[in-house]
Amino acid sequence: MSLTVSELPHKEQALFRAALKLYEVKQFKKGLKTCDQILKKFSDHGETLAVKGMFLAHLERREDAYELIKRGIEISPKSSISWHVYGIVCRFDENYEEAARCYEEALKADSENPTILRELGQLYTQLRQYQKLVETRSRIVKLDSKTPHFWLGLAVAHQLTGRNDLALKVVSTHEYIVLDETSPLKANNPNYKIEVSELLMYKNWLMELNGNYQLAVDNLKEIRPRVTDVTAWKEQKAKLLLKLDRKEAAALAYQDLIKRNPDSNVYICGYLSCNGLDISRPDDKDAVLEIIRGLQQQFPTSNTLKFLPLTFCDGDDFAKEADKLAKFSLRKGIPSLFTSMKTLYTDQTKGEALGKLFEGYASQLHDTKRLDDSTADEPLSVSTWCTFYLAQHADYYGNYERALQLMETAISVSPDTVDLYMVKAKILKHAGDIRGARDVMDFGRQKDLNDRFINTRTVKYMLRNNEVDEAEKTIVLFVRDDAEHMIQEIVDTQTTWYMRERGHAYRRLGDIGRALKHFHQVAHAFATYHNDQYDFHTYSMRKFTMRAYVDILEWEDQVFTDPVYIDSAAAAIGCYVDLHDRKAAGSPFVPISADVSKKPLTRNGTAKTGQHNLSAGVGEAKQAAVDVDPNGSTFVKAESHLENALKFVETLEKSVGSQPETHVSAFEVHLRMKKYFLALKSINSLRAIDDNHPSLVPMVVRINAALDADDSFAAPMKAALKGQLAK
């Protein structure tokens, strides 16, 4: 019935309100019972049906939930509560677009409901509909201009639409509410000082974004007594002074920062800018080196200052600085020395110079046990680390035999140094001996079973060698003992590197089902990362951490550009295309059955009984699910492989449309789906990035052939496409 709640008898009204309260405290079963009490007398009460649906949604009865809610809305289509409930459930299912539409409907009937407005704000932010966000938050602030996180939310919304000026205006208008010494927000608030500081720094940042540098500098002086984020304040000062071209003052500010952190590239380069110098300009080299040497004296322990000269010096200066750093590092025994130096090898003369330098040390040490500045015999470790460097140097140039010889020498002297085995394994990998590499890495691992780092490396090398089971046995050595299911724990802790490597291993082994399963696990982790931001759309303003919040949004916008994601998505596309092709050729891939004798692992390595698989999940709300699809057959048996591949294609096109591989992958799917215009688009996108890309010619040939073979495709469209291709 379309009675509103207020038209129900008092008893039922009270029950309804009670049901809503029960929702807030997450007592879903009780809430359900309460709704049923109302429905007993008013079985068709629209709003109660909807609310009951909401409870069902939280009790894992999704289909019933939607059915009831929709019925409730049919009965009371103008009810704000019913639409709000529908919105909540859609939001719960991460269907944010649908949720936003529901909330908009809910608002029509109740345009000043603060809860609806706030939640809609969250949705608009998640959907990146920033203009609508501004409108919604403006309405909130009109209703309540005193609560800080409302007007802060509005300021941020303006900032997100690029209107830093309006953001600034909102903050300036309302900041007195927080900043006034007599502010009621001060009382009983242990975070007051921090909140003031964050607000002031946020405002200053807005001034900077708005281009008001002088205003911002003046403001900085004013606000300093109340700012606790000293580092950010000092960074702002240096940055703004430099922007105002006040080089001397900026230089002092950067010196101050360097004192606090002499291992900051940013501060050091900032300081150089103040002196009109640019580390990448060849003409500035001498002047830069002089300054760096001065800083090195002031901050002799700074690693950054030790290495920086090597990046821009050449000739004698380079040799001198390299000699300094090399000796220091060899004597200290720094394992990453070559890894750092490696970045310099793109300059061939530097690589050669370094090789000569260390060869020189090696022979000197061999002949005299000293280096040219030694006051006593060097310990043997210096020579070993030198050999270690030379081995990696040889490896870099592909001289694997020599590299391995040198490693043997080092190992014979220092057989318990795990770093040696890790690098020896890497060299073997480079040389193509995957099995040998894995053996050496595992040997090293057994020297230090308490170290997860080498365990991780070993697992990776095992997977590269397609030893899926062995890798699994090894990785679980570091999975929490109390984890119900060890393997699921690895998925639950978002160990994406492992899922990706395992996916590739299975693909190499021809097990497309399992491979897909793992690539989907990676994708799921990243989808979770993207979804994680949701709560922060309100949380951050409550905490006054607007600066960090905007940073989080920017990251989330880019989250699908992560190389692990891209690689897994591309691999998933490849797998789906493979499945499609096999099906089309009449020999569809058959999921490889699970090894019946292999049961889920426990800590002791003893197998749990198979029964465990069935009983898990019952009675426990959100326990980690057991592997219900061990061989990936749900992916293999899916209706349309190409549709599934398309989802990945679309994400990649959106996030990394600048990478050629995206369009190469996309083409494979669009072509098979006979979406010729999309396939053409892929070709054009690829051409725009790199018109010499090797895939271009085959792509054009194949699309032409496909068009010729496709009788069902309309002739005029064919002609249009071919015309486009000819260009």
């Binding site: 950010a232 900051s264 720094i334 394992p335 997860r452 109390d482 979770t528 994680d532 940073d551 992560d562």
Partner: protein
């Protein structure tokens, strides 16, 4: 060589990866986001010449109101291949100072496995932490932890800023 800087949102995947690679105590991404959105000034990363994160410290203020002036180190880890560069020390120094300056922390605390000699030595000898007490079976595998603490008020002071610029 290695540069030290404040952690940003786009470091979180790398921090999580570093943590999963090196330690058995792991966290969901949302927990990293929670740190950054609540105490953004306290976490730091070490970055190598190829801009890869090779070490991190994930830090917070103690949420227990009784000890709300205690900073806490949630997690600290440096890739094994980057030892002997003082990275852990540098990360800790930045985090500690930030705790003191930004949040007025008087102390910082952390947990370390009683068997982890290397870490214990770093905290006790290099960073001057003291053992406050032992927490039995703190870790998921049943191992005990030393709860270690350090007084920050003797290390740092609020400086007088030069506002003449």
């Amino acid at each position: 060589m290695i540069t030290i800087r404040q952690a940003r949102a786009n470091d979180e995947i790398a921090m999580q990866n570093c943590n999963l690679t090196n330690l058995p105590e792991n966290y969901h991404m949302k927990y990293y986001l929670y740190h950054l959105a609540t105490w953004p000034e306290l976490s730091f990363v070490a970055e190598n010449e190829q801009s890869r994160v090779v070490g991190y410290v994930l830090a917070k203020m103690n949420e227990d109101t009784a000890e709300s002036l205690d900073g806490h180190i949630t997690s600290l880890s440096v890739m094994r291949s980057y030892r002997r560069l003082g990275i852990a020390e540098r990360l800790m120094n930045q985090a500690q100072r930030a705790m003191f300056e930004v949040f007025g922390a008087k102390r910082v605390s952390l947990h370390v496995r009683v068997s982890n000699i290397a870490a214990f030595s770093l905290y006790r000898n290099t960073l001057s932490f003291d053992i406050d007490h032992t927490e039995a079976k703190y870790y998921a595998d049943g191992e005990d932890a030393y709860s270690m603490k350090k007084d920050l008020t003797t290390l740092y002071s609020l400086e007088k800023e030069n506002l003449d610029f």
